[in-house]
Amino acid sequence: MMEPIYQYAWLIPVLPLLGAAIIGIGLLLFGDKTYQYRKSISGFLVFLVGATMVLSFALLWSQVQGHAPYTALSEWATAGDFHLKMGYTVDHLTAMMLVVVTTVAFLVMVYTDGYMSHDPGYVRFYSYLSLFSSSMLGLVVSPNMVQIYIFWELVGMCSYLLVGFWYERKAAAAACQKAFVTNRVGDFGMLLGILALYALTQTFEFGEMGDRLQTLVQSGSLSAALASLCAILIFLGPVAKSAQFPLHVWLPDAMEGPTPISALIHAATMVAAGVFLVARIFPVFEGLPVAMNVIAWTGAFTAFLGASIAITQNDIKKGLAYSTMSQLGYMMMALGVGSFGGGLFHLMTHAYFKAMLFLGSGSVIHGMEAVVGHDPVLAQDMRLMGGLRKYMPVTAATFLIGTLAISGIPPFAGFWSKDEILGSAFAVNPALWVIGWLTAGITAFYMFRMYFSTFEGEFRGNDAEIRQQLKNENLQKLGLAFGPGAMNSQELTLEAEHEAEAHDADHGAHSEFPHESPLVMIAPLMVLAVPSVLIGLVGTPFANYFEEFIHPTGEAMPTLAEFDWTEFVLMAGSSVAIAVVGIVLAYLMYIKRKIDPAAIARKIQPLYQLSLNKWYIDEIYHTVFVQGTLRLAKQVLSADIKFVDGIVNLTGLATMVSGEGLKYFETGRAQFYALIIFAAVLGIAITSSVI
């Protein structure tokens, strides 16, 4: 009876792709004329994603009812004994991810209609969004590593397109390149890992890959070190995509993209793809303690790193970005300590509340733009906000729910999942637990700092002094970021003038105070608030339905551990306690002004600077990799010029041909080429007769 929905499950990735293709071709053929029909276009695309959402819910329901996993494969390429299959698979993990991705994508697409309504790239944006949804869904239903890699690259490409959506902004153009390059580094490792694992196990299927690898390791025909190396190579892909240290640098910069993108791609879905992949090939990692440790510690360190940087961020989206990074670190840590269900549970809860937080920040920015103009430097800075609760009550309420959820206050969603992770970390390694626990406190602190300085207190948006200060800081930062020489002072002043003009132009549109966003934007916020509050209840330690449902591929259902009240109270109590400490600190600093944050910052100046400058990681990368590569390239080039040109000029056997028409020839290169050929023949002959 359920079979038809499985047979048509391939429609899930195909429907949005179809929509994106139709609109894309229309855009290519008719260009700006499509803008007239933008409402019907967006309606069409939202409808398609909505249809896939319904289908996903049907699949989830069927899986919950206990339907067996379903896989459909077809031969795609055959070369000798090498068979490559393509198809789709639906199991518990897939069903859950499908629902998460489609619901968030659907809500974000609805929200986009309000957020982007005045943007000339409205239609283009929608078709990118649809393309992204399709790639992400394709990734989720992939049955083997090759297909996953293809979709992995596709989501990467969509992210590149969307981060650089406002490509006329310099920062956005730079950010999308950074994201692309960083991800290539990870993907390269991942490709190597996939190929190596294929060479070892002769398969691309997830389950078989893990089984064969474990058999090989246990039989001793493969050293555990080599197997771990392969696993870690694959893990490089998730490291880049899920913004784990040391490849996390792209995520905060990626916030230059439009806010719906930040919500959909860089908070809820794509960055979770890394976690998803690790979960997918969990059987590969499971039997390799070294690899598991690497994953766990990478996650823990990233969690702490992200939280420590988020404390000092003033840009609301950057703050949320670092918090995303930190939460992804939690998920990785969970998988690393073997808590499969915990990691995915947090993935799900985080997807909902973080998407809501981002959409909320988008709503705030939308409101602020009415006051300060379309300048991201001003519109996103929390120092200019404050007291917004009065003007945007719905946004403030939903943001508060998200903040409570991420801080781990019961009974909001984040509490249950974070508690589960911390519990399983404690069981494996108390050191990991300590990091996670501290991070939880910091998280509560910076999230409430964000909430208080945005929504409480007095509105500071019209303070000209702060504005000027922000602009100056931005200019200084630009000068620093591009390094001396890359951008000369003239360009800086040009930039300043340009901004001043933009400022003047926007002056007409100014209103005194921000306003609440339109219904189409706050409705998704309200819808997302529901799972942010309630979804955690499916995974409470008393009755963990979630863990029962989600367990690693090919493994028997875990027997639920006996529920231990004392342990739960101890663990949950300590994490709630530190969260409350964080909240109180934030309250004292930013509402009561009892503690002056600036004074503390002055006292621990080096630490403050470390956090503010993101641990100087960008600068280190710039010096080591970017400049290093540039220097190397320059040296190679100059050596080449000196060597070849030098010899060319020296040989100068340019007496062969005369005449103006053959001016080029006077360098005498032809003889030089012939000389090289003969010399090469000589060299090769000698080498190969010697060996």
Partner: protein, 522 residues
Amino acid sequence: MDFANLGAQLNAGTILPEGVVILTLLVILVGDLIVGRTSSRWTPYVAIAGLVGSLTALFYQWDISDPIGFLGGFNSDALSIVFRGIIALSAAVTIPMAIRYIEQSGTSLAEFLVILLTATLGGMFLAGADELVMIFVSLETLSISSYLLTGYMKRDPRSNEAALKYLLIGAASSAIFLYGVSLLYGLSGGETNLNAIASNIVAQGSEPPIGLVIALVFVIAGIAFKIAAVPFHQWTPDVYEGSPTPVVAFLSVGSKAAGFALAIRLLVTAFPLVADEWRFVFTALAVLSMVLGNVVALAQTSMKRMLAYSSIGQAGFVMIGLIVGTDAGYASMVFYMLVYLFMNLGGFTCVILFSLRTGTDQISEYSGLYQKDPLLTLGLSVCLLSLGGIPPLAGFFGKLYLFWAGWQAGAYGLVLVGLVTSVISIYYYIRVVKMMVVKEPQEMSDAVKNYPEVRWTLPGMRPLQVSLVLAVVATSLAGILSNPLFTLANNSVTNTPLLQSSVAMTQDAGAPVQLADAEINQ
């Protein structure tokens, strides 16, 4: 002598595809002579029809029972059929893009086609030649026609320079090749047939004489010149820049395919005794080509030069398949050449279109093209991304197959170099794409600002459009629907007796690849 008997022995049906090309060539030559300049209205289509006829003839030869023709001079086995098909197809795709280009420069189209068909003919014969004299004559047919094509724009100093350089360097490498061939003749005691040479040399003893190594190196020098492998590559950028672009397109695909066909047949058949040595030499050439081609391409400012260096790098990738010498290795070469045909020719079609409309091929002049000509931008982007190996385009699968074959055969070092350099290559391909797409209107280059209105109705533009769309569609779909191509490539290898025996030998002899590889790694 009994000539009737001899006629039956010749098995002349094996060269039917080439016969069709010769016939077409003569029809065009004589027709142009009679009709005069107006012949340009029909000659290209006759040429394309002839090449398609030749492809059809090739198709019907697939399961031929006796592939040896002309008393051992020509071998029409599955491998030669595939490579002859690639060469004929590359010529057939080149012609539509040449029509407008040649017409606009005011030169005669019919003669251009005749020379191009002769080059094709030389390449096709080369792919099937099984005997030294035949190899050399067909090689020279290909080369001399290429020199003529290169210098076809005779009033342009760049074209003259390119032709002269190509001629001089080509003559030098032909001489080296001929020297190597004559050494083979001497070493085998006066044999010219490749199989006879191999068996005669083997019969003399198992230890390879030093003369054989020298012959090998000299022969490789000739082949490496044709496939533009570093360090025999210096002519490439100059010639690519100075030649008419359709010629460059043909040289980079058809001529290279012929070179690879020659490399496989000659090395595998005639040099079984020194297999380790030739694998070692090719490993060195492949590494150098991949590194130098891709790195130097980064610094180029002219599109044609960039594509020249990129084609050097691509040849390095293909050599991996040759070096590993397994079934999968050869099949991946064939597959990659098939895919490369479409993506590279598609890229050149776009370059031609752009230079016809703007009169430049500087990379910087492409900026902001998306605003003025989305179709061209799309086509060029797809082809360049495919060349860079971005999934799900065809080039990705070609590279994947090559690297997979290399990895499976244990050539880890080579595959790693290939992976690293292909990442580098992505950078310069993407740079062009970015230049075209991600630029705001005021950053448009002058050439794009003065971009003429897109008119496909001009004479000769319609075929250009057709070949552009064809190449783009093939590049985008060949990856996803690659199974027929995979099957073709595999069958061509498994149906070829000479490769089957060599693969068996490679597996018996242990792991020569690892040996060569280990030396590279040191």
